[in-house]
Assembly symmetry: C2
Homo-oligomer: 200 residues x 2
């Protein structure tokens, strides 16, 4: 078994072979885990939230759902949801410009940069930031289409477990979002915390 | 003024200069218009539905909304909605594999292929199919996250008008979806019809 701690605000890549299980845990609770996956043999094929939700007909990943690539091939099945369904697939990965949009001055860690750094460590360049699966992230689409992010209720120790359906490189980012934005709560109030990634 | 008819099931690209207005009309009504836009000077910058909805905080494009690129730069403002808000930004562009998913045998026209062909005519290769803005497409996200597409109520002559905020190549595809899928109605029952594109 491989166990990787993703420090608060950082990202890590792990290899997951077909048939292996990947578990992501928020030890302290309420920490958004931006999740990306690439075909280990062709990183131009990546997990696509957008293609997934028109196949599962649900904008939330649910236990039993199979998440597919942009070429609509099965990549992972979510075999166990230990976070009571509090997940998101709609929020684009944060980046420098997102923090500036909210008024932040100067550089800020982001899930996009975490993804690029983690992939570069393995020799891969990321030209296009895929839409992540945001585990442990609380969003809701209102009847009129408005997208809201209420306070994050995810308990310490909550987790998700996925089974790989092809050889994958998976990247998990501890979302560095720490701005105080009214009505847009991503992480717990005390700021970003670490995530635990286990491959077995 | 440039006027282009997009034949049923096909796609067309048009240049739209900064400040110009682009109007898309469904003359017969209830025809999904998959809309893509690229920076005319750098087609690696494309309109991103995903980045847009976390900025407008709404998964529907609304009159007055500015739609942004994947680099979070303003590309178009929707200045007039003549279709009573019946639009979608969630359905990934259909492709050959989508039709096979629904049981179709053999080749089928698709918005992805229409996009690639339209861009190739101008000398550009499309490696990544962006998430389109699907005008005149009726979807709804239920409280539990389920994505549904009820019958399309868009009237003949309905339109949207956008103002370009940078020089653009815009692609409009008359969505070729014509399968009978229970609970997943995209176009009118009589099959795909043409669209009208005007640039002034």
């Amino acid at each position: 078994m491989t166990v990787v701690t993703v420090p608060a605000r950082e990202g890590r890549a792990v290899h997951v072979q077909e048939g292996q299980h990947l578990r992501i845990t928020t030890p302290k609770g309420a920490q958004a885990a931006d999740f990306f996956a690439f075909n280990a043999h062709n990183v131009n094929e990546w997990l696509s939230a957008n293609h997934t939700w028109v196949t599962t007909f649900c904008v939330k990943p649910r236990e039993g759902d199979t998440l597919i690539s942009r070429f609509r091939r099965p990549m992972v099945t979510m075999v166990k949801d230990g976070a009571e369904g509090v997940h998101d697939m709609l929020i684009a990965a944060c980046d420098q410009f997102r923090y500036e949009f909210f008024g932040h001055k100067g550089p800020h860690a982001s899930c996009s940069e975490n993804l690029c750094v983690a992939m570069r460590r393995l020799g891969h360049i990321v030209d296009v930031i895929p839409q992540p699966i945001n585990f442990f992230t609380n969003t809701r689409v209102e009847v009129d289409g408005r997208l809201v992010s209420p306070p994050n209720p995810v308990a310490p120790g909550a987790f998700v477990e996925m089974k790989a359906l092809m050889d994958l490189i998976c990247v998990v980012s501890s979302c560095p979002f720490d701005l105080k934005v009214d009505g847009w709560t991503i992480n717990a109030g005390q700021g970003p915390t670490e995530l635990l990634v286990e491959v077995r």
